[in-house]
Symmetry: C2
Subunit: 381 residues, 2 copies
């Protein structure tokens, strides 16, 4: 991370930004506006990714922020631009994501600072070990004249590729239901237990997994996934006595998501009851959808068209730093096509022409913000 900071700091300074690392480890480069107290636009994304990942998740959005400022060639706008490379978006180390973006809205709280990594090191200590001073976290909070946040990010999905499009304008970050289901039957001998005397936990789970897929396919925009199944005792010749399964349901519309999740869980009850299998349900997450701000997404769509590309409106199925900022700062996101839909994978990629399209779109977006100052006024600047 220090190497990345050094490299980006050099590029930022070369583009005319003053650079510092805030107390949460976010790298921040400020490109001044035409007046000393000009309102501030944030462009950014995260610098971390997951293990065994590719080179574009998150960091592409930071590099693009620097590039956009470079393209301004020291031209002053009626607003300042701060490019932020957020720290710890993935939650790999402390099992809690978005630490950097939480800090800039003042929500990196005591409980989060007390979380520990696998070695028992707290977030607070990790910050100190990186030569940061957690007592300075309040200074990391965005100034009140921040009027917008723009995040550029790879799609991490196959939709744009499938439709042969370079860019997508995100309207909403989907809400999410996560649950763990435990099917408890009876582990019996696979050879000596006739079918009608079984309480097969895996047969129940399997019928349910099929129902999950059916349900998701019958609701436009819904995704529902069982990604993890563990059987016990996990022997070829023993009927599964216990199956633990994960559930992940997402949709842009919370009402649709909740109705679907309830129907899916009801299917689990049916599949378990039919076989005399007991079902335990642990609801782990019920995260509402986060709409992005039409006062920004509309001009972002217009900018996309002006740059010569289709303004494909897309829902983000994944969480992003914009999800954290959006409730506080009007936010927009621009997706770049992910070849083969790959992300969090060594083969994660991005096409040069899509990067050019994103830069051109962002510059058009800055022009629209500059020319239609009502957008600034409408928001909280």
């Amino acid at each position: 991370m220090r190497t990345v900071h050094t490299l980006l700091r050099n590029w930022m300074e070369a583009a005319g930004m003053s650079v510092h690392v805030d107390a949460a480890g976010n790298l921040r480069g400020l490109y001044p506006g035409s007046t000393p107290h000009a309102p501030r636009l944030i462009i950014g994304s995260h610098l971390d990714t997951v293990p065994n990942a590719g080179p574009f998740d998150g960091i592409l959005g930071v590099v693009l922020g620097v590039t956009i400022v470079e393209e301004l060639d020291n031209q002053r706008l009626p607003f300042a631009i701060e490019v932020i490379g957020f720290s710890e978006e993935e939650g790999v180390r402390f099992a809690k994501p978005f630490l950097g973006s939480l800090a800039v809205i003042g929500k990196l709280d005591r409980n989060t600072l007390a979380l520990t990594d696998a070695d028992g090191i707290t977030v607070e200590q990790a910050l100190r070990n990186f030569d940061l001073d957690p007592t300075q976290l309040p200074a990391a909070i965005l100034p009140t004249n921040t009027f917008a946040f723009l995040e550029l990010h790879i799609e991490q999905g196959p939709i744009l590729e499938c439709e042969d499009l370079s860019l997508g304008v995100v309207d909403t970050i989907a809400g999410q239901t996560r649950a763990q289901l435990i099917f408890t039957g009876h582990a019996n001998h696979a050879g000596t237990t006739p079918m009608h005397l079984r309480h097969d936990a895996l047969a129940a789970a399997a019928e349910w997994i099929t129902a999950v897929e059916d349900c998701a396919r019958s609701h436009t925009g819904l995704v529902a996934t069982v990604g993890k199944v563990e059987t016990l005792p996990a022997a070829t010749n023993v009927i599964a006595g216990r199956v633990t399964a994960s559930l992940d349901v997402r949709h842009a519309d919370d009402a649709i998501r909740k109705t679907a999740a309830a129907a899916i869980l009801q299917e689990a009850n049916f599949a378990a009851e039919k076989r005399g299998v007991h079902l335990t349900l642990n609801l782990q997450l019920d995260q509402p959808a986060v709409p992005l701000d039409p006062r920004l997404t509309t001009p972002l769509g217009e900018a996309t068209t002006r740059a010569g590309h289709s303004a494909r409106i897309i829902t983000s199925g994944a969480g992003h730093d914009a999800m954290i900022l959006a409730p506080v700062i009007p936010s927009a996101m621009l997706f770049l096509r992910s070849p083969a839909g790959l992300s969090h994978h060594p083969d994660e990629n991005v096409l040069p022409q899509d990067v050019e399209a994103a830069i051109a779109t962002a510059l058009e977006f800055l022009s629209l913000l500059r020319d239609h100052k009502t957008i600034l006024k409408d928001t909280n600047a």
Copy 2:
């Protein structure tokens, strides 16, 4: 095992048997017949069981053999009785079952002797470590005048309990198909990959597991089980890219089993193809059913009735030492009810009245063998 041997040896000798441990570690007590070269009846089962098991699997059949001889009270029959406590039936240590029973039919071969346990100790060395001499294995082979094998064993299943019966007369040891199926799809983000662009290995496996259950339910006497499923990468928010699943199919009729197994594997192809998921099939076992000998099972059924019990004909879904001996020595098996169908479990149990029923039945069986010498003649004595 030494403690068990010592205890049983004392009981065997007290019942009038001459006892030795053969070169395969089988404990063998010979109760002489009325003439020096009388044909020989074997009664026995195994002395080992699995870890964390109960006290009746296998060893009950050995103790019952000793009890039956005790009940004869030194009365001589026109045949000798050899009670055998077989070694290593489960295959826990060397991952190969039936070592003791293979030895008595001369099939504990060089390859088997060369198998190693988790510590790298071969079967041959393990025998030596138990003060046995593997060069003496030929002397363990049953004499040519052995005319029958009777194995008494707990059912290890719920059928007798469900029908409120003490005993079952086994007609066949079911044949078995075992396979490993690998469904290979694409591991993608659960939030960003729409349903129609997925290649979900777990959804394919789940549809197939449901089909396995359906197929087994629609064929009388068929059992088919998927007991083990492993997903990769096994994350809540990632579509399963690879699922490995086990299949175990059993039936007394090999033709029915093979037809059903083929249909089940075809269902796996359908479920995979529908989702653009690749299927790899590893057939691991295609073991034919082993019929027991009607020249013994018919009088065993008659003996059961004479002892005042129902002669419930039952298929053994599990393998037993009798499966190894039956192709060489005419064999029969009597099952005792397993309360709650439990076996290989600390709560494995047997009811005292069922033990009494088994002893009474075995003694009636000996009377029938004695009185109807044609049975001895029909077989190979």
